[in-house]
């Protein structure tokens, strides 16, 4: 179900009406039914049902057994068993082709070839989200952070809560258990705040992201015919498209959940005002980063292998260097996994994984040098100009990495980058013939200015609060302007592809 479709709107209205009309003790059950409907809407077959059921049963029973045999020797095996079963089906659904591509050169050495289309199952919607959510659930039970949910239906609701299935955020059982199952009264303030959030999300997707997509798709589909400036512009536009698409989806999801009285964790915090890549990733897909830190990075740092490497390198290079080596190894593994989580393709592993890791390592290594140089040259790092330079540098580096994210293959990405530095041919004369007219460009630029102003205000506090604090005339005028901007300038209806939801595929 597409988040900007009338079907989703209708689905939400019906769900909300039933949710607030049924006795409060049944509210969680309404959510479960609508989540199951959402999960299998136009995607029901034995396969998808089996995969969903397998994840659920693995998580449900391993959590129960972990709790029953807590502090026993074999408790760990219930944890490992649950994780292996969930990860196994995730790998089967999303990474078989990546594995086959990786091993096919070895196979070739023996004169054999691999059929890459050997296994292409239909994955249930949100598989990448609910799999990690359920892994965190059993780990949290193992760590004693929460009790296992004995009611299988309530456990199923935690796994399938419909707002998070398309684009996250990643939720954790200790934070959600009360919110999901407790009784919620209809609250007018929640309704207003939820609707404002939904409207803002729709603005980001329909007015900005879909508009950017037209330009980006035109360039990427035919990049050989364009001057480097166009490719450079397309790379920047794609980053903005990705952000407005993804964060807009999150806004809609958070808004719907807010109306029901269920607060979800924030996934973005004005990432383009970050001065370093490290800072950017603290504000971009926040819940994925936090998940991987808690369930991969820290356990990895404490693992025997890393500890052993630490001891060996300490002897050879000293404490400081050894600390860096173990840190970078763990980071490399974590960032490779972040890349792989996005999709089972090397473009994602490089674009949103390894390149980000390289940036962070360089930032870490070069920071003292840069600081010294700045001091010597007398550059004041606290000025607006310097901060702006840092933000732009971070944004451009991130956009460069996103070329891999958008490309069809690694070779394709390298070719696009090569063309980015070719400045033959006309400069920007074709700008208005790539699907966006001059008027559309003006709308895009104004919308981007609005976006950045709102993002900037969000650094200081909630923009929803600012709107709700205004008098009724200004408040309503702002809302009408936003709603009609979406209705008039939004890219929807016949001729527009509603399926351009980048994060939905993960």
């Amino acid at each position: 179900m597409i988040l900007t479709s009338l079907t989703f709107l209708l689905f939400c209205v019906i769900t909300l009406l039933i949710y607030f009309l049924v006795p409060k003790k049944c509210q969680w059950f309404v959510l479960l039914l609508s989540s199951i409907f959402f999960l299998f809407y136009k995607n029901f077959n034995i396969g998808t049902f089996f995969y969903v059921l397998l994840t659920f049963l693995s998580a449900y029973f391993s959590a129960l057994f972990i709790e029953r045999y807590i502090n026993k020797k074999h408790t760990k095996w219930f944890l490992v068993g649950g994780i292996v079963l969930i990860l196994g089906q995730l790998i089967l659904l999303k990474y078989v082709n990546l594995i086959l591509i990786t091993i096919s050169p070895i196979w070739h050495l023996f004169g054999k070839s691999i059929n890459l289309n050997i296994f292409s199952p239909t994955a249930p919607i949100g598989v990448s989200y609910y799999s990690l959510i359920m892994i965190s659930y059993i780990v949290d039970v193992y760590r004693g952070m929460c009790k296992a949910q004995k009611n299988p239906l309530k456990c199923a609701l935690f796994m399938s809560y419909f707002p998070i299935l398309t684009s996250g955020p990643f939720i954790r059982y200790p934070d959600m258990k009360n919110k999901l199952y407790e009784k919620h009264k209809f609250n007018y303030d929640n309704l207003c705040r939820g609707l404002i959030r939904i409207i803002w999300g729709l603005f980001k997707i329909l007015v900005i992201s879909q508009r950017l997509a037209i330009f980006v798709n035109s360039i990427y589909a035919n990049y050989l015919s364009f001057n480097g400036i166009y490719i450079f512009l397309a790379a920047i536009f794609f980053t903005l498209q990705l952000y407005t698409n993804f964060s807009g989806s999150i806004d809609i999801i958070m808004g719907v959940s807010k109306i029901m009285g269920i607060e979800l964790p924030e996934n973005f915090h004005s990432p383009f005002f970050s001065k370093t890549i490290t800072e950017l990733w603290r504000n971009w897909h926040i819940t994925l980063g936090a998940w991987l830190k808690d369930y991969v990075f820290y356990p990895l740092m404490k693992s025997n292998i890393i500890q052993k490497i630490g001891t060996k390198t300490k002897k050879k290079f000293g404490k400081k260097v050894s600390k860096k080596i173990t840190l970078y190894i763990s980071m490399l593994i974590m960032w490779t996994l972040i890349g792989a989580w996005h999709n089972g393709a090397y473009t994602f592993i490089i674009g949103s994984g390894i390149l980000q890791f390289i940036y962070m390592v360089l930032e870490d290594l070069l920071a003292p040098i840069a600081s010294k140089v700045n001091k010597k040259l007398g550059i004041n790092q606290e000025t607006f100009g310097y901060k702006l330079y840092q933000c732009l540098r971070t944004f451009l580096l991130f956009s460069f990495a996103m070329i891999f994210f958008r490309a069809t293959s690694v070779a394709n990405a390298i070719d696009i980058i090569k063309h980015m530095f070719s400045f033959k041919g006309t400069v920007l004369t074709k700008l208005f013939s790539l699907g966006l007219t001059k008027a559309n460009f003006i709308v895009l630029i104004i919308s981007l200015i609005i976006l950045f102003v709102v993002e900037y205000l969000q650094l200081k506090g909630s923009v929803t609060d600012i709107i709700l604090e205004q008098n009724i005339v200004l408040r309503w005028t702002l809302l009408y302007l936003l709603i009609f901007a979406i209705l008039i300038f939004g890219m929807y209806g016949p001729g527009y592809d509603q399926t351009i939801f980048i994060y939905r595929q993960f």
Binding site: Y188, W476, Y480, L487, I488
Partner: protein, 342 residues
């Protein structure tokens, strides 16, 4: 407190709907004869012409007003599907009380609804009503349009919201109370007249149903109606359709005039058509003068020429005469212009 919040929410929605409908109207930027029909004040039309392009290209409403003083509305659109007839009569009845309805049968062969534009040109002009919804449902169900796209026809805003770019650039000033005068309708394309063939070809189920339900509606509402068959070049099959339709209409004691077989009306096929399906401005002038006279005499229609309330008709006539002079260099006041060949 709760009541205040509820009141505010209702006011917010009402203001939203008002702005929405205003914007919807502004964004529908390509008007046609049907939109001109809705611009007329309630109960101000003496005649309403329902049909396809043969209606708005053949009957010059402002000329009829200038010469006989009666007002004519055109509920006409391009390649109008025959299934729309009953619904359009209903629509006319909601806004006007004409002394006579003219139903043009030039589009009897348009029943397949494959042309998306043809559907849009009718329903998008109609204000939201149960009748519009029923017509939309009917036309969609009998078309090849995919079900998933139906929503775009019920909510035309989905289709037209992106026309904001063209506001101010696309002015349609070639309609004169629905009548079309432009570079196309001043073209002269000589045609070969086919003698009328009286053989009958069976109307199919859709055509028959459309015709029968229209007749039933006419009878139920006791409407004064004339069916007309416009002058153009017909193929044998369409002539056959019209022959059978004529039988059905006459069997129901309703009037039908076939201008192709009228003894006292003739057009010059070497000069008066702009393509095989339509007469040009010279042909339209001949036809309008002939048919307006018939209507005026038969139905004793009111003469509004001295009524200030109808001054917009005189203004539109003058605009038409000016455009005609600009486009053809000829003057409508010249008595030989479009003279009826006898």
């Amino acid at each position: 407190m709760i009541m205040k919040k509820l009141r505010n929410a209702i006011i917010f929605i009402i203001i939203f709907l008002i702005i929405f409908f205003l914007i919807n109207k502004i964004l529908r930027i390509v008007p046609n004869a049907i939109s001109d029909f809705y611009k007329e004040p309630k109960n101000s039309l003496d005649v309403v012409y329902v049909g396809s392009s043969n209606a708005y290209a053949h009957f010059n409403t402002v000329l009829a007003y200038k010469e006989y003083g009666f007002t004519t509305g055109l509920m006409a659109s391009d390649t109008q599907p025959i299934q729309s007839l009953k619904y359009l009569l209903k629509e006319v009845k909601k806004y006007q009380t004409p002394k006579v309805y003219v139903i043009d049968l030039g589009h009897i062969h348009h029943y397949k609804n494959d042309d998306v534009g043809a559907i849009r040109k009718i329903i998008d002009e109609m204000p939201l009503s149960f009748n519009r919804l029923a017509l939309t449902k009917k036309l969609l169900e009998e078309s090849k349009i995919k079900k998933k796209d139906y929503i775009n026809y019920y909510f035309s805003f989905l289709m037209y919201h992106n026309t904001w770019e063209y506001i101010g650039n696309l002015k349609r000033d070639n309609l004169y109370k629905g009548y079309l005068l432009d570079r196309l309708t001043i073209r002269i394309e000589p045609q070969k007249k086919n003698d009328w063939n009286y053989e009958v070809s069976s109307l199919n189920k859709v055509q028959k149903e459309a015709l029968n339900e229209t007749i039933e509606y006419i009878k139920d509402n006791d409407l004064e109606v004339i069916f007309t068959v416009p002058v153009k070049v017909y193929d044998k099959k369409t002539m056959g359709y019209i022959n059978e339709a004529t039988k059905i209409i006459e069997n129901n004691n309703l009037k039908i005039i076939n201008f192709n077989t009228c003894e006292d009306f003739e057009i010059d096929y070497s000069h008066d058509l702009y393509n095989s399906n339509h007469i040009n401005v010279w042909g339209a002038t001949k036809f309008t003068r002939y048919f307006a006279k018939y209507l005026d005499h038969t139905y004793n229609l009111d003469d509004h020429r001295n009524d200030k309330k109808y001054s917009s008709w005189q203004k539109e006539y003058e605009r038409f005469a000016k455009s005609l002079k600009k486009l053809t260099g000829e003057d409508i006041k010249n008595k030989d212009f479009g003279k009826v060949s006898q």
